[in-house]
Subunit: 310 residues, 2 copies
């Protein structure tokens, strides 16, 4: 979860967690406006959250557990449809992680595995014409890589100066479609997830299809590949991919009730400000700025998970 | 190494690596100006590199191998001296990694372990008065977190608008000193390394003491901690720290000949431009911008390593 905390010493953390509740004379909770992210989330209403749509939610199951990806059909409709087709024909099942490049990406897929009905290559969906009906919460902070940035459908997104064209930004957890030099050579048969400092130079150069909302540490902590560009060399065995499934294709009882914080609410605006200018006791100098990829996009599992599925 | 590559498919990588050399009629190498980072580094001269100073180089030895940290005495002289004192009294030896927070930091230390001569707490060194003699290569790209950014002694650094005050920036690989809420509560007895998207909000809030120049994947791929803020919980055993040594305290034959690319050369300026506006066949849209923490700071081992030390 993108929730960087202060760099407290272990002892201070242990002390803080062990601290007794405040004295009986403390002000009632409602008198203290929430100011940290934890306090804001604790004060959030159910309407501040949005349940993931099972028809655009992927479960990637590894030995280490489940990784949950929210797909972005508004930004890459053809690629998202093809990834769903690939999942339905069980293309990904039994493959393995092929690339783990430190401070960059984890990648999987096999461009040579036969396909059943899914497409082998698709026209690029690097950018889109802005849909006036699409939600967009602008981040007021300037961005070096795009004239306008903000959040659309809970995803970090950018727009051109005219507001005519939009694209998804590469932040930690962004999921995209590997391709060769030809812009139209990707299909979803190779996917990657960002596990390092935001590689924003990829923006508008590759098709982004979504974001990991849960379990990214199951990818980011994988052993790094020893070959060029972090591909696994012949001596290494990549983490097996047990299956990739669309949540909607599973019985309802096997789906996880994952919610993500909405990015079009007053609470989200307050959360961004709480992170732009931190006012807790640890921080001495508020940054006065927050970059697009430092804005936390919290997720929570709102119902008990089926045994073994999380 | 901070060297993000294109997101090529595995097949394309295999093909590229297997590609035959150019035809015999190809232009001689000198006729083609280098344009990618790999080409620029291949064309670099020995004078473009700087050998690490053993008196400010730490070796952190884990089961997974060696992590090499370049210390920054110009920015945090008292903390660097104290960390060297801690290493010399073998304070770190036999400790373990205590915290692995995804997309944030790895941390180690034990604020309760008795010290011999090293200090338990030191006055903060969050910022410094600019030394006019210090090298500083300004990055022309605007930065949201500081009026001026660039590189000083090979480290990402920032300055205030007046050019009077400077500080090191938190990028992937940055090493700093954990502290409690009191600004003067750090000493180096707990250290952290950034393993995620640059947490620039920490800038000017904590003492930065250097940067990992080699082996960061031995930290970034560690299993994430299950407790609050990524601290390891009672069920987990942190990766053991065999030793932390100052390179100068080892016999010369046991030191690694690590060089880092100088950041005050025309080659470095060309490298930054090559990454700001990529012109290789894969990229379709050059970014036109590069953020401070996306600038690669290459290192190389220029002599054979002693057996088992790398």
């Amino acid at each position: 979860m993108p929730n960087p905390s202060p760099v407290l010493t272990a002892l201070a953390v242990a002390t803080a967690l062990a601290a007794p509740a405040g004295p009986a004379t403390a002000a009632p909770e409602s008198a203290v406006p929430p100011k940290t992210m934890a306090e804001l989330l604790a004060a959030s209403a159910d309407t501040d959250w949005r349940r993931l749509d099972p028809s655009s939610t992927l479960y990637l199951d590894l030995d280490a557990g489940r990784v949950i990806i929210e797909l972005a059909p508004r930004f890459a409709p053809r690629h998202v449809a093809n990834i769903i087709a690939l999942a339905r024909e069980h293309y990904y099942d039994g493959l393995a992680i092929t690339r783990v490049q430190d401070n960059f990406v984890v990648q999987w897929g096999d461009a040579q595995r036969p396909l059943k009905g899914a497409a082998r290559a698709l026209p690029a969906e690097f950018t889109r014409t802005v849909d006036p009906a699409a939600p967009f919460t602008r981040l007021p902070d300037p961005d070096g890589y795009a004239p306008v940035v903000g959040f659309s459908d809970g995803l970090p997104a950018a727009r051109d100066a005219a507001g005519a064209t939009t694209w998804l930004a590469h932040c930690y957890g962004t999921v995209g479609v590997g391709r060769d030099n030809d812009a139209g050579s990707g299909s979803g048969a190779e996917l990657y997830v960002v596990i390092g400092h935001a590689p924003r130079q990829l923006d508008r150069n590759i098709t982004v299809v979504g974001r990991v909302v849960h379990g990214i540490e199951r990818l980011s902590a994988l052993p790094r590949g020893g070959g060029p560009m972090g591909f696994l060399d012949a001596t290494a065995t990549g983490a097996p991919i047990h299956s990739v499934r669309l949540a909607a294709d599973l019985p309802a009882a096997q789906r996880l009730a994952v919610e993500v914080l909405r990015t079009d609410t007053p609470l989200f605006t307050r959360l961004v400000e709480a992170r732009r200018n931190r006012t807790d006791d640890w921080y001495k100098v508020p940054a006065g700025y927050i970059d697009l990829c430092s804005v936390p996009l919290p997720a929570r599992i709102s119902a008990p998970s089926p045994a073994g599925s999380d």
